[in-house]
């Protein structure tokens, strides 16, 4: 009886866990459109008012949303648009054109895309795929025909705005901004960019036509608020099916946020990067450790996740090297120390290695030169070393100049955790000059 009961409860928690996983994955991977905005109320209001005026009063505007990556620029815009679309007057009037600097890499493609999104292709038939010049004059004519009272306002959203700046002559930007500053079809141009120097990139006449409305997103929260965001992100929604589980889960989250180790982990994370995407990454990793047998997140999970997050990728590679390859890297390290970071070649490394073998090594077997060469090339392939001049220079392989892409600290850290490292090799690594 008791056995069956436990089975039932386990299947119930299994259900709960899978739901929890689904909810949080959606939340952390930004599939859920109703993510919360943190500390962006002012910007939100500004943008909302701006777009409302465009659609309701037919006022042309231009604005830039500037903020570092992961600061929620697109999310802010999507939230505003979502709210706008709930107003009937806006929904029926507003035309949207979404462009992305990574997709529309030149003005020609951008124009085609604009024409397509404004659904003017059918008006022009095959003409839309005419020449670039025709396309431009067509579009300009179309926008020129409109006026404030009668035309549908058009909202242009230029994602990765900084890439549009590099288009030839900034023709597209000039024309869009020019329309926004003249009595034509009401348009609003919203640019999203992470570059703080964006205004300096605009050509002077383009800049003059831009309204200089800039909305900055800054991640301007401190650690307390960060902790709060952490909690918000981990709370289960009230409409979760299993109420008791929700209660337990939320209580656990609350206690987590008060836990010292968790706070330390979060603080370290916060110091490194403030953007919420990296927090999501951390939580995602922690979430993956949740199973039926381990239904609630613990501080250890977070610690583990944080370790995974801040793992050093190059040092990790060193863990998997053979002893010979480690020896070569140590030789390179010594060369770097002696020659103060000057590039080296295979022959120098081989000589250094030979010296070690002859004088200090007790456990090392003296490898043939071609074998050492092979190991060296393996390091090259792993990009632990890199040729200085690039592969095109036709020097003999032994004498091609190389640079080590590892810092001393990385090498030492890696050696500490390297399994079964011979002691003489370890000693050699620490005392570069002692063997003399």
């Amino acid at each position: 009886m008791s056995k069956r009961k436990s089975k039932e409860t386990s299947s119930a928690t299994e259900e709960c866990i899978s739901q929890v996983q689904r909810i949080f994955r959606e939340r952390f991977c930004h599939q859920c459109p109703s993510g919360k905005l943190f500390g962006l109320e002012l910007q939100y209001k500004h943008l909302l008012e701006l777009l409302k005026r465009t659609t309701i009063h037919g006022e042309s505007n231009s604005a830039l949303i500037i903020g570092p990556r992961g600061s929620g620029k697109t999310m802010l815009l999507n939230h505003v648009l979502k709210e706008l679309m709930e107003i009937k007057q806006v929904r029926e009037n507003l035309l949207q054109v979404h462009l992305n600097g990574l997709l529309q890499t030149n003005d020609k493609i951008a124009l085609k895309e604009i024409t397509r999104q404004l659904q003017m292709e059918n008006v022009v038939g095959d003409k839309v795929f005419g020449s670039f010049a025709e396309n431009l004059s067509f579009l300009l004519e179309a926008l020129k025909k409109g006026d404030r009272e009668n035309s549908c306002p058009v909202l242009f959203i230029l994602d990765e705005f900084d890439l549009f700046v590099h288009h030839k002559n900034q023709t597209l930007l000039y024309n869009l901004f020019d329309i926004s500053q003249s009595a034509q079809t009401p348009v609003t141009i919203i640019g999203l960019t992470c570059r703080q120097d964006i205004l300096e990139l605009l050509e002077k006449r383009v800049k003059s036509r831009f309204s200089h409305r800039q909305i900055y997103l800054m991640n301007s929260f401190d650690f307390k608020q960060y902790l709060k965001i952490f909690k918000e992100q981990l709370y289960l929604p009230a409409e979760f099916s299993d109420k008791t589980f929700t209660q337990k889960w939320n209580k656990n989250v609350q206690s987590l946020s008060e836990d010292k180790t968790v706070q330390d982990v979060l603080r370290n994370h916060f110091h490194c990067s403030k953007d919420l995407r990296s927090l999501h990454m951390l939580l995602m990793l922690a979430l993956s450790s949740i199973t039926v047998s381990h239904p609630f997140m613990t501080g250890a999970d977070l610690l583990e996740a944080s370790k995974l997050c801040r793992m050093d990728s190059k040092a990790n590679i060193v863990h998997g090297l053979s002893v010979l390859e480690i020896c070569l890297i140590i030789a390179m390290k010594h060369l770097n120390d002696v020659y103060e970071g000057e590039p080296f070649n295979f022959q120098m490394v081989y000589n250094e290695f030979q010296k070690f073998i002859q004088r200090k090594a007790h456990s090392m077997y003296n490898f043939e030169k071609p074998v050492v060469m092979k190991a060296f090339e393996h390091l090259l392939q792993l990009e632990l070393i890199k040729p200085v001049d690039g592969p095109s220079v036709r020097a003999q392989r032994e004498y091609q100049l190389m640079k080590l892409l590892l810092d001393n600290s990385q090498i030492m850290d890696a050696l500490q955790v390297y399994p079964n490292c011979p002691t003489d090799v370890k000693q050699w690594a620490t005392s570069s000059l002692s063997w003399l």
Partner: protein, 888 residues
């Protein structure tokens, strides 16, 4: 296009007719065709738009000192030449075929003879007569009113009679001479129809004879192809079929004579191939003569009073119709070898060519036609058959595809109509009776004719049959066209000049409902102010420059420079607006205004395309456009208005060879160009900096530079825009002006700040109803727009990001260089972390921090995969970084 291409391909030789220069003989090199134009005739004169040649009347021919052949003409204006705003004055729809006696002063009436393309038919109409609707027959014009640049006046009776008089006396001397290339063969038939109708209605102008003749004597072997392609290009695929339809109805009741004659002619045609040249020629002449008597005359001409008016002419005309065939035929055959009479020779030639062509076609199609006809209608008269055949001759050429369908339809209708005509032979009175309400009935019929249902049509036509014109109308007007077109397999392509537009909004825009919103609307850069304050001087200078050039009828360039937002383009547009107004009020000669913008072109050479399109509406490639424009501006053109061209953002037209700029500035220096260029750019020394000497020299020294606005001017601009709306405190306006004047003097910036201030004001004072924009609001707006974002963003960066910046500065100080590798900075960073007691980040974390800072452009990071050896620079001043980091 057609005309132009033919004209370009073949050189034409112009020579006088007779010693006393009675006319000119135009001989085309490529073909054997010749045409003769006599003084007093109407001609088409080559203009800038090849599709729309000018219409003029040849008054006098002479030769000037340099043996150049000149002509004096009386111009006529097409409706498209009348300024848009003046067209309203007419208060009616004007067909494209109506022209106006041009009394606008200032046009050069002395033209080069070589600009004359060919002659054309112009029918003067009395004021009470309406212009007939003949959309498909472009080569006839109607003149009814005169146009003097200010208003339209009906032609004075004297003038009208003079025009008509001239027409009357023409046939003797002119009829054999004329030539018309573009006339489709089917015109013959329709003309005949008209002729008959007109004969019955007893009102026509005599001159028509010669005109009609001129129509068909023209065609030559290659013409059919040209016409065909023209038609295809125009998208009209079934004119032949349509024509047939028109024809049949009225032919029925026509006088026997014509019918028989035609029949005769056609039977002659059958063996025309074997026929000798003179006989062919002869036939041709008689043929045309018969058909040619009276031209098409509008149904509206059938107004009740007109028969009485023109009644006197009636017998005469009938006479000519009957007599002329014989007389003409004899005359021509007799004179055929007479070299002195070149006119006849011309006709001779053309006539033969056409004849042969026609006959070939006629033979081909005859069999089919006959079958079709016999199968559908047994009661068809000979006349009809004959006509049908004439028509048929065209159809295979024009639309081979629609041929069969057309034949069937046509014959069916012929049968029907024949039937009605036979049953109800109308008497003369009936013809005129319904004319007063003809427009109504015809319009209703237009609708009905769309319905393909035959029975209905029958009833309809039997009712209205008494008025031949109303019968004709449905086939003539657009609805008929569409019905015809509809079954065609080829769906018409979207019109080439589809007018693009943004959809119309469903809800109306809301109007501002408080002072601040009102102010915001007025302060928007797009709002067009009533006047442009603070640019009076510049305005006056530019105005005077353009005005003087306009009055002199010469060309010139002016270079206008100034930093962005100083009102260059606005001022120039204002000048143009004023000039246009002055021209409208007749204080200045009228001019054409076009504008191009370097930034709105994808390529400098697109400037040619745009200019040509704005000037003439043609769409050609850049290279071709350059040639056409050069021709336009460098050769003396008749009737040319001065063109004012604004070239905005001139520096964008720069090319390596600078050919675009060179041409632009070279044209105004041509004597005949009459081109005034106002070039606008940002830099004052553009001519010296980027232009070659020869370009800069042509630009000339007429320069003007717009200084940035001073704060007082900006203040004035804001105040004038606000126009007594009390939304700003005085001090606030002054603050904005001073700030902007100190920064750039850009009026756009000024207005934007004001607009933003109103928003801030509105936002902050949502409870207290209306408030003035104060200094604080303006300060906030200025801060938002101009404060450097760096310091604030650095303060909001994460701790390690800040520390990385510190490490960079420390490393710079250590090395004394402004550049460091990540590895070096990493060591510094680690040291700093040790001091602060922070957890030491891994290299991967540091790399992430570095790339984040690089993405925001606090740092300039080398973009390669050198990992630790990537070099880094600061993109912000060290002081800024220190300042931002210190304050914590």
């Amino acid at each position: 296009m057609e005309i132009m291409s033919t004209r370009q391909q073949c050189k034409r030789i112009y020579s006088w007719v007779g010693r006393e220069k009675r006319g000119i003989l135009i001989k085309s090199e490529r073909s054997v065709k010749e045409m003769c134009i006599l003084v007093g005739e109407f001609v088409l004169v080559e203009g800038e738009n090849a599709d729309q040649p000018f219409v003029a009347k040849l008054l006098k021919l002479y030769e000037d000192g340099s043996q150049e052949k000149r002509a004096v003409v009386q111009w006529f204006s097409r409706i498209s030449e009348v300024p848009l705003n003046k067209r309203k004055l007419l208060q009616r729809e004007v067909s494209s075929q109506e022209i106006f006696l041009d009394k606008v002063p200032g046009y050069d009436t002395d033209i080069n003879v070589e600009a004359i393309i060919r002659n054309v038919k112009v029918i003067p109409l009395a004021p009470e007569e309406a212009v007939p609707l003949r959309s498909h027959r472009k080569q006839i014009f109607f003149v009814k009113e005169s146009w003097d640049g200010k208003c339209f006046k009906p032609l004075s009776p004297g003038l009208l009679s003079e025009l008509k008089e001239e027409k009357k006396k023409k046939p003797e001397s002119l009829s054999p001479s004329t030539d018309c290339q573009v006339f489709p063969l089917d015109f013959i038939c329709s003309l005949k129809v008209e002729t008959d109708r007109v004969t019955r209605s007893a009102m026509k102008t005599k001159n028509s004879q010669m005109e009609i003749e001129s129509r068909h004597s023209s065609s030559k072997s290659s013409l059919s192809k040209e016409r065909h392609s023209q038609r295809v290009a125009n998208g009209i695929h079934t004119p032949g079929a349509r024509k047939k339809l028109e024809l049949n109805s009225p032919t029925k009741s026509k006088s026997k004579l014509t019918g028989c004659d035609v029949l005769e002619l056609l039977s002659d045609d059958c063996d025309a191939l074997e026929a000798l040249e003179p006989s062919a020629n002869k036939r041709k002449v008689t043929f045309t003569q018969i058909l040619g008597s009276p031209p098409k005359i509008s149904r509206t001409k059938d107004e009740p009073d007109s028969p009485q008016n023109n009644g006197g002419d009636w017998p005469k005309i009938v006479e000519t119709i009957r007599i002329s065939p014989y007389r003409r035929g004899q005359g021509s055959s007799l004179k055929a070898k007479n070299l002195g009479e070149k006119d006849d020779d011309t006709r001779h030639f053309n006539g033969r060519n056409e004849e042969e062509e026609t006959e070939e076609r006629a033979r081909e199609s005859r069999k089919r036609t006959k079958q079709a006809i016999t199968s559908t209608s047994s009661c068809k008269s000979d006349t009809n058959l004959a006509e049908e055949e004439v028509l048929k001759t065209r159809s295979p050429v024009m639309t081979p595809r629609s041929h069969r369908k057309c034949v069937q339809k046509t014959t069916a209708r012929i049968a029907e109509q024949l039937h009605f005509l036979n049953t109800s032979v109308p008497d003369e009175e009936d013809n005129y009776l319904p004319s007063t309400d003809s427009s109504d009935s015809s319009s209703s019929e237009e609708e009905e004719s769309v319905v393909p249902c035959t029975p209905k049509r029958k009833i309809r036509s039997s009712v209205t049959l008494s008025t031949p014109k109303s019968l004709r109308k449905p086939s003539d007007t657009t609805p008929a066209k569409t019905t015809r077109k509809a079954p065609e397999p080829r769906t018409p392509k979207t019109p080439r000049n589809a007018t693009p537009r943004i959809p119309i909004r469903k809800q109306a825009t809301e109007n501002p409902d408080n002072v601040l919103e009102e102010a915001r609307l007025r302060l928007h850069v797009s709002a067009i102010p009533d006047s442009l304050p603070c640019r009076e001087e510049e305005f006056q200078d530019i105005y005077n420059f353009v005005e003087s050039k306009l009055i002199d009828g010469t060309g010139g360039c002016m270079y206008i420079s100034g930093v962005p937002g100083t009102g260059k383009t606005a001022t120039v547009h204002e000048v143009i607006r004023c000039l246009q107004q002055a021209a409208e009020n007749d204080k200045l000669p009228s001019f054409q205004f076009i504008e191009i913008n370097g930034m709105k072109l994808t390529d400098p050479r697109q400037a040619y395309v745009q200019i040509l399109q704005l000037l003439t509406g043609q769409k050609v490639t850049a290279a071709h456009a350059a040639v056409l424009l050069a021709k336009l501006f460098c050769t003396p053109g008749p009737k040319r208005k001065t063109t004012v061209l604004i070239v905005d953002e001139l520096d964008l037209l720069w090319t390596r060879k600078q050919d675009v700029m060179y041409n632009l500035f070279d044209w105004p220096s041509q004597k005949q160009a009459k081109l005034i260029i106002l070039a606008i750019a940002n830099t004052m020394d553009l001519p010296e900096r980027i232009m070659m000497n020869r370009v800069a020299s042509r630009l000339g020294l007429t320069r003007m530079s717009f200084q940035p606005y001073t704060y007082k001017q900006l203040q004035q601009i804001i105040s004038s825009r606000l126009n007594h709306i009390k939304a700003f405190e005085e001090d606030a306006i002054q603050l904005v002006s001073r700030k902007v004047a100190a920064l750039s003097g850009d009026a756009r910036r000024c207005l934007d700040i004001c607009r933003r201030s109103t928003e801030i004001c509105e936002f902050s004072s949502q409870k207290t109803a209306s408030q003035l924009v104060s200094m604080a609001h303006v300060m906030k707006a200025i801060d938002e727009m101009f404060s450097s974002p760096y310091i604030n963003s650095i303060r909001n960066a994460s701790l390690h990001e800040q520390m990385f910046l510190k490490a960079i500065i420390a490393e710079f100080r250590r090395s004394g260089l402004e550049e460091a590798t990540v590895q070096q900075i990493y060591h510094q960073h680690v040291a700093l972390c040790r001091i602060e007691g922070l957890q030491i980040p891994t290299v991967s974390e540091i790399m992430a921090v570095c790339s984040r800072l690089g993405a925001c452009r606090f740092l300039l990071v080398e973009s390669n995969n050198k990992y630790l050896h990537v070099r880094v620079r600061l993109n912000v001043s060290q002081d800024d970084v220190m300042y931002a980091l210190k304050q914590e």
